[in-house]
């Protein structure tokens, strides 16, 4: 849209077009500023050592009549990009360490002596230490790996389960089809806290508590309804005649499904896969219900370790969030166009 209207003289339409474009850019820039503003703060916190979120510096704005245009510009620019972000490099944290002789541990047979020596070698804090600490002092890399493993396998299993069921919904009629479809859609409305205990009990009774496997199983089923809706919609758009032809050639329905329909439906499979992957990647509730061990936690759970009630290390938390945001953004930008076509194709038909 916003095409050149016909019948305008060239110069007039050019200037109008320029105006249009500058308005568009202005609006988009304003939107970007709103989007960036808290995110920039997260970045600036990620370099902090003090572990508080609040910035206590008030911006001393001059009273009415004295404020100049420059003051306004300064105020708003500081809001978007906290100055702290630039100061951080120049003022490396010099933590005041109270050097005191350890008064107690002089006993040479002390079993702790060798252990204490180990952590005595602590590198001095740098301005980027929060980022390096994530990987050297905490299991952050492990958590990301866990998340990847869990999300990939949950998405694979979820898509397989969804594809077969969606095929039955799209191609066959069977008694109770409407009821089953309605039930699947209804599951989307269950309030999340409701499922905590029973899902925990089920997974425990399958002897899969505190394992990757249990979490993968639970996650792959929770995204099932959405995936079925998407895939069913897409399967309906694939002409049935293709499979019928294969059936005439002596193909069983199962091999017709695997050999004919699935290869034709890669876009829809990608949508379902990406949707399951994303929801597993960002899931917190299921993981916190089913996983105990720190080595098994996905990043959503692991990162919460830095947010303790009275022991919050928001610097580390923010650094972790920034690290996570990068792959999440790539995933989101890449998957979004598939998800949208999934919505278009599948529709939501109860």
């Amino acid at each position: 849209m916003l095409l050149l209207p016909r019948g305008f003289s060239m110069s007039k339409s050019l200037s109008k077009r320029f105006l249009q474009l500058s308005v568009i850019h202005l609006l988009l820039t304003a939107a970007c500023i709103t989007a960036i503003f808290p995110v920039a703060r997260v970045v600036s916190i990620s370099f902090r050592n003090t572990d508080t979120v609040a910035t206590s510096d008030a911006f001393n704005f001059p009273p009415r009549g004295e404020a100049t245009f420059g003051d306004y510009v300064e105020f708003f620019s500081q809001a978007v990009i906290p100055y702290e972000l630039f100061e951080v490099k120049e003022t490396p944290d010099t933590t005041v360490t109270v050097v005191e002789e350890d008064p107690i541990l002089v006993d040479p047979d002390d079993p702790f002596a060798s252990l204490d020596e180990l952590d005595a070698v602590d590198a001095p804090r740098k301005w980027y230490s929060n980022y390096t600490d994530l990987f050297t002092k905490h299991l952050f890399a492990q958590w990301i790996y866990n998340s990847l493993v869990i999300s990939f396998s949950a998405a694979f299993i979820g898509v397989f389960l969804a594809a077969t069921a969606a095929y039955a919904f799209a191609r066959f009629s069977f008694p109770g089809k409407k009821l089953a479809g309605g039930f699947l859609f209804t599951t989307q409305m269950i309030p999340a806290p409701m499922m905590i205990i029973p899902v925990y009990l089920v997974v425990k009774s399958l002897n899969l508590g505190n394992t990757y496997a249990g979490l993968v199983l639970a996650m792959s089923v929770t995204t099932l309804p959405f995936s079925i809706m998407v895939l069913k919609g897409y399967f309906e758009t694939v002409p049935k005649s293709l499979e019928d032809a294969a059936r005439v050639d002596g193909c069983s329905p199962i091999s017709a499904f695997f050999r004919i329909l699935l290869p034709l439906s890669t876009p829809a499979l990608a949508i379902a896969f990406l949707f399951s992957f994303t929801s597993a990647w960002t899931d917190f509730l299921l993981a916190s219900t089913l996983i105990d061990d720190v080595e098994l936690r996905p990043w959503t759970l692991g990162i919460m370790e830095f947010s303790g009630n009275f022991d919050a290390r928001w610097g580390l938390f923010a650094a972790g969030s920034v690290v996570i945001a990068i792959p999440s953004m790539m995933l989101f930008l890449y998957s979004a166009k598939y998800v949208v076509s999934g919505l278009t194709l599948g529709g939501v038909k109860g």
Binding site: T50, D51, T52, V53, A54, T55, S56, D57, A58, N60, T95, V96, T97, V98, E100, D102, P103, I104, L105, D110, P111, F112, L115, D116, D119, I196, I197, Y200, L201, K204, S205, L206, N207, L208, G209, N210, T211, A213, S288, T289, D292, D293, V294, L296, M304, E305, S307, G308, N309, F310, D311, A312, R313, W314
Partner: protein, 413 residues
């Protein structure tokens, strides 16, 4: 280990029976302490395991609320941790739910400071093994801004007024002002207390003239003396003090180390001041950290737990806790040790603990917190007058109480 468990379940019967035989007894240990404490605990564990190779202790860290709900949930299937380490109020919740066992038979009572044991005594039995006392509030002050420790609130108000300059975000006092944990010490200073137990029945007592006075005092700090900001949460208060925008800061012992690191010699620590009106000190709640034992624990593991408890309440470990984690030790042996007196950093914490009251461990306290929170918020926001807020708080607490005590009520009828 987990992997072999899984194998056993999945391919029942195919599990390798031999491997399980030689393996040490695994004791799972859940805690909710800070990360520094976590590192220290790992050291205890590795020293303990070297001495007792027949046991293996597996530590897992959780956040406070998560630890509670997780332990309750896991207890249903019998998978809860064997020992849980956390603040004293876990005793009320876990004891009411019947998921922890009494520990009277595990520890000699005369080994511990009676005050510490008292905190987790419910219905005549001890439900947790005290490791440290603490979790109490005190005043931190910035010696660059004020020279002396505040004796009474009048001093704080007087000095605070000089420092307050809202245009620069500078205030006399920084604290988590709408949180009841910061208000209950004032109640103590005014002779009010949120819980009352009579004939075995615990009641919440918020609607009292003393509470009204205490609440009025808090509201006055904001509206009359104007030494605290309009609203300030935990993070806001801490960052105000750290950046030198407030001379006085009320916070807990858990921040002592962070404060020292930031201010060094400029940090002053003092007990909560006197309330001039009554001449009594504000009484912070003194809790502590305790070890709770799962009710469903096996005898074999219990023997290990007993050994572990002996080890972590030994003098050496208790003193390490004092020096490295700023915790007041719970055993008499460590408290009376001459080494402890040398730990300068711990002295102000012990001094402020002297004026503290034991933090109630009863589950009913949860209801009191709820009522108090609503009361403080409504009064501080000016939504309700002090008199109204106290009534609302009492009502809300009573309602919450009836939710906890449903069964009691039906039995009585």
């Amino acid at each position: 280990m987990r992997f072999s468990n899984f194998l056993k379940g999945a391919l029942a019967g195919l599990a390798i029976a031999g491997a399980a035989h030689a393996a040490p007894t695994k004791i799972s240990f859940w805690e909710q302490d800070s990360s520094e404490a976590g590192k220290e605990m790992d050291k205890w564990i590795s020293v303990f395991e070297k001495k007792n190779p027949e046991y293996k202790i597996v530590r897992q860290h959780y956040e406070n609320e998560e630890l509670r709900s997780k332990f309750l949930r896991s207890s249903v299937t019998g998978d809860g941790a064997d020992i849980v380490y956390g603040p004293n109020d876990l005793a009320g919740v876990f004891n009411t739910a019947g998921v922890i066992r009494k520990v009277d038979d595990l520890i000699p009572a005369n080994k511990f400071n009676p005050a510490a044991l008292n905190i987790v005594k419910l219905k005549g039995s001890t439900w947790g093994i005290p490791l440290s006392e603490g979790n109490h509030l005190m005043v931190f002050y910035n010696k660059k801004l004020v020279k002396d420790a505040p004796k009474d609130f009048a001093t704080i108000i007087e000095n605070g007024k000089k420092m307050t300059n809202p245009a620069k975000n500078e205030y006399g006092l920084a604290m988590f002002q709408s949180e009841p944990f910061w208000f209950v010490p004032l109640m103590g200073g005014f002779d009010a207390w949120p819980l009352e137990t009579k004939n075995g029945q615990t009641k919440v007592t918020i609607n009292t003239p003393e509470t009204v006075k205490a609440l009025q005092f808090l509201v006055d700090l904001k509206n009359k003396h104007k030494i605290i900001p309009a609203d300030c949460d935990y993070d806001c208060a801490k960052s105000m003090f750290l950046s030198g925008k407030a001379p006085y800061h009320i916070n807990g012992d858990w921040e002592a180390n962070a404060m020292r690191e930031k201010f060094g010699a400029d940090l002053g620590v003092a007990p909560l001041p006197l309330v001039n009106e009554t001449g009594k000190r504000a009484t912070p709640l003194l809790g502590g950290r305790f070890l709770f034992v799962n009710k469903a624990i096996t005898d074999k593991k219990l023997a290990g737990v007993k050994k572990f408890v002996e080890f972590i309440t030994s003098k050496n470990v208790q003193l390490r806790m004092a020096t490295r984690l700023d915790r007041i030790p719970a055993t008499l042996e460590a408290r009376n040790a001459p080494e402890l007196a040398k730990v300068k950093t711990l002295k102000p914490l012990i001094d402020s603990a002297e004026f503290a009251k034991a933090s109630p461990s009863e589950v009913e306290m949860r209801a009191a917190w709820d009522g108090l929170r609503i009361m403080v918020q409504r009064a501080m926001s000016g939504k309700e007058t002090v008199a109204q807020a106290v009534k609302t708080g009492q009502k809300a607490a009573d309602e919450a109480l009836s939710a906890i005590q449903t069964e009691k009520k039906t039995k009585a009828h």
